[in-house]
Symmetry: C2
Subunit: 169 residues, 2 copies
DNA sequence: CAGTTTATGTCAGCCTTGTTGACATTCCAA
DNA sequence: TTGGAATGTCAACAAGGCTGACATAAACTG
């Protein structure tokens, strides 16, 4: 009977919106996010870094030469908070900060080779879990997964997310 | 660690597993989780609480009379960390801690009426966003969403998650 | 019963990563 | 050329993770 259970009753396509179904979705998000961060966390820990470092490395790698201000918008933290993380990454030689050419108030951020190496290790660990989940769930599930996640974002963030151009599809 | 590692190169049914697709999925998780927590965070902030309090309230509500130890397993934090949060909730009269009947070493945790009120406000805000996302994405997407999330959890956690019996509301 | 294990709570102290405030530098427009 | 806006840095504080040590009470075991 599990099958046609969606459209069976009066609410038609709303039957899956019971509080119970929603609660399951909420808990799934909570537990899945833990898994999602678990593998990089282990690597980071071994290097004495935290999740904040990972996020910085990810988005610097993603948009070479990005400015601090741009990074702030994406990460949604204060500049002071980001700066602390950025400083250690620069001191440790993972990130290079170059004074902007056009506007010398800006700093353009790049990964060094060392930074790139760590970023690859982190993202590969995370991709590996994502890949396994995608394989287990199948292509159609993946499409649904992305749709729901996108619908869950704040409007402004979703706009940014969708506008980030793909690098080599 | 192949360089241009494009996992799609060989198999047609793996076409969606390019590094680029995986990266998009990773970023979608990151941004969506922010949205997922944004509404409760605002409410919590107004009450002087944090996310840790929300998690405790959620799972106490979800499993009335649960023990401290059980909560520790679900939340995946140390008892010192949980205790700090629990203590303030008890002091503030949101949670009641009763000595266990069967085993008097245990403490069974319950929400008071006040605790229930806050929990409802928090979960309703979160459900509302989830509901909107589900509506926007459609039933089929929701099924995929849940499948991928479940596949992303750590094995032990997934086992717990799946075993949590439904409370038919 | 004596000794051990289990469940819980508490104190102290550390770390990461948020926050706000103050301030220096640079750019730009009036 | 000067004042305001933008950008980034330094300092200090708070939340909430963590570990370690220890206390208590109850349960279990030989």
């Amino acid at each position: 009977m599990a099958e046609g259970s969606n459209s069976a009753m009066g609410g038609e396509n709303l039957l899956f919106l019971t509080d119970e179904q929603l609660r399951k979705g909420i808990e799934a998000m909570f537990f899945a996010y833990r898994g999602f961060t678990a593998d990089p966390d282990r690597i980071l820990d071994a290097h004495g870094y935290g999740r904040a470092h990972h996020r910085a490395l990810h988005f610097i790698n993603r948009t070479h030469g990005t400015t601090v201000n741009n990074l702030l918008n994406i990460l949604g933290v204060t500049k002071q908070s980001l700066n602390r993380v950025l400083r250690t990454l620069i001191e440790d030689g993972l990130v290079e900060s170059r004074v902007g050419r056009k506007d010398r108030r800006e700093r353009n951020l790049f990964l060094t080779e060392k930074g790139d190496t760590l970023e690859r290790a982190l993202s590969e660990a995370q991709r590996e879990r994502m890949r396994a989940a995608y394989r287990a769930a199948g292509p159609q599930a993946v499409a649904g997964f992305r749709l729901v996640l996108e619908a869950m974002m704040d409007d402004e963030i979703r706009r940014q997310y969708l506008n980030m151009r793909d690098r080599r599809t």
